[in-house]
């Protein structure tokens, strides 16, 4: 993937996020013109960027979005929820396209149609809100134009081309007449319509036409496109859309009726003087004697000048005769046309005979049945050389058989009964012939004989029933599905009977009703699935390397004071010592600033996580039918990138839980005397070197009793704990693994992993999580996280002549306690400190060091009061030293297994400081 595209993708994600945000803000304040302008600008820029690449699908949707936003901005269209929904949907689609580009570097062709529909629905929204009358006018105009265009005049095609096309249609291919009308300014968009037209797949014939007569050369504007292209192609609808994916609005696709190929042309040679031939030919035809008709036509053709109209008509006649099976009605029409030398009027052709030219055409079965009564012998034209049935054909066959069954079961008027039986019989017989089922033909002939002689439908019915049992019955819905899947133009009998409906791909013809939201594919994705934005344009490993390097500078810089000390004490050069110290001060300042700067690079605002919540809350609350007002505070609070990223998942879980379990339905809230709209507040702020995130809801809260019992049921706590546990502790049980109060697992919550995962994720980055809840009033979850994981502030403590580091997060205070105040309870020591009993432990014994802790001259021991989770305890050490910032390195190799230490750090004098893991040693 080239860097430009990479950047485009990452920027697009940002834009999409921005668009979604603005849209949701607009839902609250639809009149904010400033927001509207912002939103328009975002969509506009994104569209512009997408134009740099070959992604017409994306550009098209964005362009429609841009137009829509433009209309909203100008006040032509009012901003509405529906509009926001559509735009969000469109943006989801674009985001999906981005994913696809990222994965494969290109967009799948089938999305062209989706993108087209989506953009149309956006435009429809614009249209539907504008003056309805105006739109109606427009639609009417377009339909009129297209209705005229439908009367395809293919006479300009050379006869051999038409003959070829006709033959291929009879062999089962379908043709489109494609009219490509490039816009006049298309040359300036770098397009070459001629090339596009030449590249049209399966082109049988093509033509260029000029829209207007040519001016004098001196007045000619060569760069104004005035050439149209007309193409006869047998390519599929999808292939054509793919070829014209950039310009779907400039092409018109018309399915070609095979009869429009059959046009005799030529010199009339003095007018209609072929009455004799016509009479003879019709006689042969009435007698069904095509074998006699053929030689007559052939000899007539030989005698005539090939340029004559007559000869052309005769060539067609021979072709029609040789078509298997021949369509008598069509032949009649063609012969009749010789009387007047006017083009045969194929509109006289009854619907069924036209229809039957199309293999695999299934319409409603009863209609077929009626027609087969009229012309039973024509039924086998439905199947042309189709011994092997395709799935569609098989289904069609079943539908036909089912229809015959229905017909035979009708028992109303006896006088019609005979004809009905006969018609059904011939349908069945022809069907069997068409599929080449010899055994069936034999058995059905017997059944027909019986039915006709007894004048009852019973024997035929019996045969049909027997057959039906062998094959699974066809449900009507299935047959409908088939007709829906059929290629365009073959769908409905009535349509085919008149003139084929053109597939006009212009925005106006797709009326707003057609593109209503229900019918559109949804591109909506769960907002939390969206890949995290890669707003960090520098590779993170590079920043990490910088971080490591600055760490080393800090360490080596810290060696300078030692050097100064040595210069003075060991070598007695005070002067030099002072200079070294002065230099050290400068380096120290720069190094600290540098460290701060690099930390800043790694810092990200929590809005990175928060920004997805408006959409998440909006979608989930809609789904649950709840009314939720989301309040975000302190989005600008910054923390290390790793910390922020680790926050994302836990927060989503918590927000979902609040929405699903916490906040009540509007009616419940009203009944409880609260406002119908619940409030969910997510607040971030910085406290010292901690980031505090609070999630508050004013929902129903958590009932500690229920939690206790659930926890007991699930063996998370034992009976003794159940008795003495406080309410506050009880509600925090929801963080235990395997805990879930939901009776039913929904797609939102209830799997019992959520809060456990939350806790684990928070603890992984040395954070803590607490929950407070009051029944009926709401729940408050408080997460505190370190600002940065890179630099740890540690206090240096000394014990048994060794120094250790202890993270300041755990240090509550350091005190000296007189030995007399230490109280021994059994083996353990305690003391009363600030009115509370604090358990004491000696660091030496915890680390397995045999020496007793030192006592100073005042007979006091040094006690470090540490907080571990929610508990406070005292650690007896020998002495305290300063606190320093260290860059902690994890222990590797065999040392990695030592639970007592969380890592090591380098001191300024080059010695190694081991950092204690308080949780690990207690």
């Amino acid at each position: 993937m080239n860097p430009l595209l990479e950047q485009f993708l990452s920027e697009s994600r940002e834009f999409l996020q921005g668009i979604a945000e603005k849209l949701m803000q607009l839902e609250d304040t639809p009149d904010d013109s400033h927001l509207l302008v912002e939103l328009f600008r975002l969509v506009h820029t994104l569209k512009g960027n997408s134009g740099l690449f070959e992604f017409p699908e994306m550009t098209r949707v964005l362009h429609a979005g841009e137009d829509l936003m433009d209309a909203v901005r100008d006040g032509r269209v009012a901003f509405s929820q529906q509009l926001a929904d559509q735009l969000l949907d469109a943006m989801d689609f674009v985001s999906a396209l981005c994913d696809q580009i990222e994965d494969g570097g290109k967009i799948e062709a089938e999305l062209t149609v989706d993108s087209y529909r989506l953009s149309e629905s956006l435009r429809a929204l614009m249209a539907s809100q504008q003056k309805q009358a105006e739109v109606n006018d427009q639609i009417e105009k377009v339909t009129q134009v297209s209705a005229e265009a439908v009367k395809l005049d293919l006479s300009k095609l050379p006869e051999p081309v038409r003959i070829e096309a006709y033959k291929r249609t009879m062999a089962g291919e379908s043709f489109y007449w494609l009219i490509y009308t490039p816009i006049e300014t298309c040359f300036f968009q770098g397009e070459d319509p001629f090339f596009t037209a030449r590249q049209t797949p399966e082109t049988l014939w093509g033509q260029i036409t000029a829209r207007e007569s040519w001016p004098k050369l001196s007045d000619l504007d060569a760069y104004r496109c005035v050439l149209d292209y007309e193409i006869l192609t047998s390519a599929s609808h999808v292939e054509l859309l793919e070829q014209y994916r950039y310009v779907p609005d400039q092409i018109q696709l018309i399915p070609v009726d095979p009869w429009s190929f059959v046009i005799p042309q030529g010199d009339p040679n003095g007018g209609a003087v072929y009455e004799d031939f016509v009479v003879d030919a019709l006689q042969y035809l009435d007698a069904g004697d095509l074998d006699s008709l053929r030689p007559v036509a052939e000899s007539m053709l030989q005698l005539s000048n090939p340029d004559l109209w007559l000869s052309s008509a005769l060539r067609w006649l021979l072709l029609l005769i040789d078509t298997v099976p021949p369509n008598h009605q069509a032949i009649t029409i063609l012969i009749e046309s010789l009387r007047s030398l006017n083009a045969p009027d194929w509109s006289l052709l009854t619907a069924n005979s036209t229809e039957y030219k199309q293999p695999s055409t299934v319409s409603s079965a009863p209609v077929i049945a009626e027609q087969s009564i009229a012309e039973p012998e024509q039924i086998n034209t439905t199947f042309i050389d189709s011994k092997e049935l395709s799935e569609e054909d098989a289904l069609a066959l079943e539908t036909i058989f089912a229809a015959q069954l229905q017909i035979l079961q009708i028992d109303d008027q006896a006088s019609w009964q005979f004809g009905r039986v006969k018609a059904a019989a011939s349908v069945l017989l022809n069907c069997c012939k068409a599929i080449g089922d010899e055994t069936a033909i034999a058995s059905i002939e017997v059944a027909i004989e019986e039915s006709l002689s007894s004048e009852s439908s019973a024997p035929l019915l019996a045969w049909l029933n027997a057959r039906q049992q062998k094959t699974s019955p066809v449900k009507p819905s299935e047959s409908n599905a088939v007709s829906a899947e059929l290629p365009l133009g073959l769908v409905s009998l009535e349509e085919q009977a008149t003139t084929p409906e053109p597939e006009q791909i212009t925005p106006e013809i797709i009326s707003p009703e057609l593109v209503s939201t229900e019918e559109l594919p949804k591109f909506s994705r769960r907002p939390d699935d969206i890949a995290s934005a890669k707003s960090l344009k520098v590779d993170q490993s590079k920043i990490d390397r910088l971080m490591n390097l600055i760490g080393e500078i800090v360490v080596s810089k810290n060696a300078l004071p030692y050097l100064a000390q040595r210069a003075e004490e060991q070598f007695g050069v005070r002067e030099l010592s002072r200079e070294i110290k002065a230099q050290y001060a400068v380096i120290n300042r720069i190094a600290e600033e540098m460290q701060d700067a690099i930390m800043q690079v790694r810092m990200m605002p929590v809005s990175f996580v928060f920004q997805r919540f408006p959409r998440l809350v909006r979608d989930i609350s809609r789904k649950l039918g709840k009314e939720v007002h989301l309040v975000l505070e302190g989005e600008e609070t910054e923390a290390d990138k790793n910390i922020i990223e680790s926050l994302a998942d836990p927060l989503i879980h918590i927000v979902r839980n609040s929405l699903d379990h916490g906040l009540e339905l509007p009616e419940v809230r009203r009944a409880a005397g609260k406002s119908a709209t619940g409030t969910l507040t997510i607040k971030a702020n910085q406290e010292g070197d901690q980031v505090i995130i609070e999630i508050n809801d004013d929902g129903k809260g958590i009932d500690p009793e229920i939690i206790k019992h659930k926890a007991y049921e699930k063996n998370i706590i034992d009976e003794a704990t159940l008795e003495r546990i406080t309410d506050r502790e009880a509600v925090n049980l929801i963080f235990a693994a395997g805990f879930s109060t939901a009776e039913v697992v929904s797609d939102l919550s209830g799997r019992g992993v959520g809060m456990d995962v939350v806790r684990t994720a928070v603890e992984k980055v040395n954070g803590t999580i607490q929950l407070e809840s009051e029944v009926g009033l709401g729940t408050k979850i408080r997460i505190s996280l370190p600002l940065s994981m890179a630099v740890t502030k540690v206090m240096i403590i000394e014990s048994d002549n060794q120094v250790f580091g202890l993270p300041m997060d755990h240090v509550v205070e350091i005190v000296r306690i007189p030995v007399s105040e230490l109280i021994s309870i059994k083996q353990s020591k305690t003391t009363v400190f600030r009115g509370k009993i604090v358990a004491l432990k000696t660091l030496n014994s915890l680390l397995g060091l045999p020496t007793e802790p030192l006592v100073n001259s005042d007979n006091e021991v040094a006690v470090l009061i540490a907080r571990i989770g929610n508990e406070v305890m005292g650690l007896i050490v020998d002495d305290f030293h300063e606190t320093i910032d260290v860059i902690q390195k994890p222990l590797t190799g065999v040392l990695a297994g030592l639970g007592a230490y969380s890592g090591s750090a380098l001191m300024g004098d080059g010695s190694v400081l081991m950092i204690l893991n308080v949780r690990g040693i207690l």
Binding site: F187, R198, G206, I208, P215, L217, C225, L227
Partner: protein, 79 residues
């Protein structure tokens, strides 16, 4: 490649791009009796085609490319 202008004849070679149209138009205006040799042409941008059509200039040789020839014949009348 491009259009090669001879004394009274323009030779279309390979693919004629959109940029050629302007020069071609200018050239044609000064040579009302010019002839065009398309025999070595594979494709021409429609802007050039429009100039050809408007000028009703005589075609000395049709493209060897059968597909292009078929397309052009539908709109350019053989001389």
């Amino acid at each position: 490649m491009a259009i090669e202008y001879k004394k009274n004849q323009a030779l279309f070679v390979d693919v004629i791009s959109v940029d050629e149209a302007e020069t071609f138009l200018d050239w044609l205006q000064n040579k009302p009796n010019a002839k065009i040799d398309l025999s070595r042409c594979n494709h021409l941008h429609p802007a050039n085609l429009q100039v050809l059509l408007a000028s009703k200039v005589a075609i000395a040789a049709w493209p060897k490319d059968a597909n292009l020839k078929a397309w052009l014949e539908t709109v350019l009348q053989p001389a």
